[in-house]
Amino acid sequence: MLEKIKQYNLIWIIVFLVGVPLFIWATGEVHQKAFYKEAISVVTILAFFFLIGQSYLTRGYRVFIQKLKMSRLLKLHKIFGYVFVSVIVLHPLYIVLPKFFDNGITPYDAFITMLTTFESTGIILGIVSWILLVTLAITSIIRSRLFKNYRTWRVFHAILALFFVTFSTWHVLNLGRHSTTLMAIYMILVSIGGVFIMMKVYYKTLNKVKEEE
């Protein structure tokens, strides 16, 4: 396993999407809460970084995984995608989880208050990001029924991903309790890098489609 990790340069994925965010989290000021709350935060941060870092596991960027075949890279992209989408889809529920162990507002009321505070830009961005994420996941599962042409599917998937990366990063910058200056800068760099890779790949793809027509 270790040899495979070294052979395929997977170590860099782990460093950039796990190591650096964890280091920034550990050196930040904000962790004064209960252990389970911090554990939830860490899982959410890692899942978020893996999702915005999915662009680095595509045909557009194979610097980290030079020796991996496209089929294997795609498999890795799918595994990371399904695992971390499952984590982030439940993120709104993690927020109200502490309310089960506290007096005061009930978890149900907390959830409703949270979702109906439309004065908050962060909440609106969060709802939009959640819808985009669920759409990304569902369209990936039923891809063969929706799209006959693989290239059309890829462009559709990338456009959705592009919007998801933009809105979710904005949401985290606005509301994330661990969004310290350093974390924000790193998050923006990872997102911009991912968006740039997607733009590069699909600019080429769209040009090819035009040439074929």
Binding site: V96, K99, I105, G122
Partner: protein, 71 residues
């Protein structure tokens, strides 16, 4: 200081309404809660308990020194 920080506020104003001593206010620019008068906090924990997104942290340290009588 008792109420120490607010991280990830969504601006629902619940904490402002439940605080009996008006410690928290809403910042008009950001539309988020801020600790305006921390010295007035009575450490009643109502803001923390009623915050829907668990954004408020109460410091375990008290700012008011305990007064010990002579003798």
């Amino acid at each position: 200081m008792s109420i120490s920080r607010i991280d990830g506020c969504i601006g629902c104003t619940t904490c402002v309404q439940v605080c009996p001593t008006d410690v928290i206010r809403i910042d008009e620019k950001t539309n988020k809660a801020i600790i305006k008068y921390p010295e007035d906090c009575q450490i009643c924990h109502l803001c923390r308990m009623y915050c829907p997104v668990d954004a408020i942290t109460i410091s375990p340290k008290k700012s008011i020194p305990v007064i010990v009588s002579w003798g």
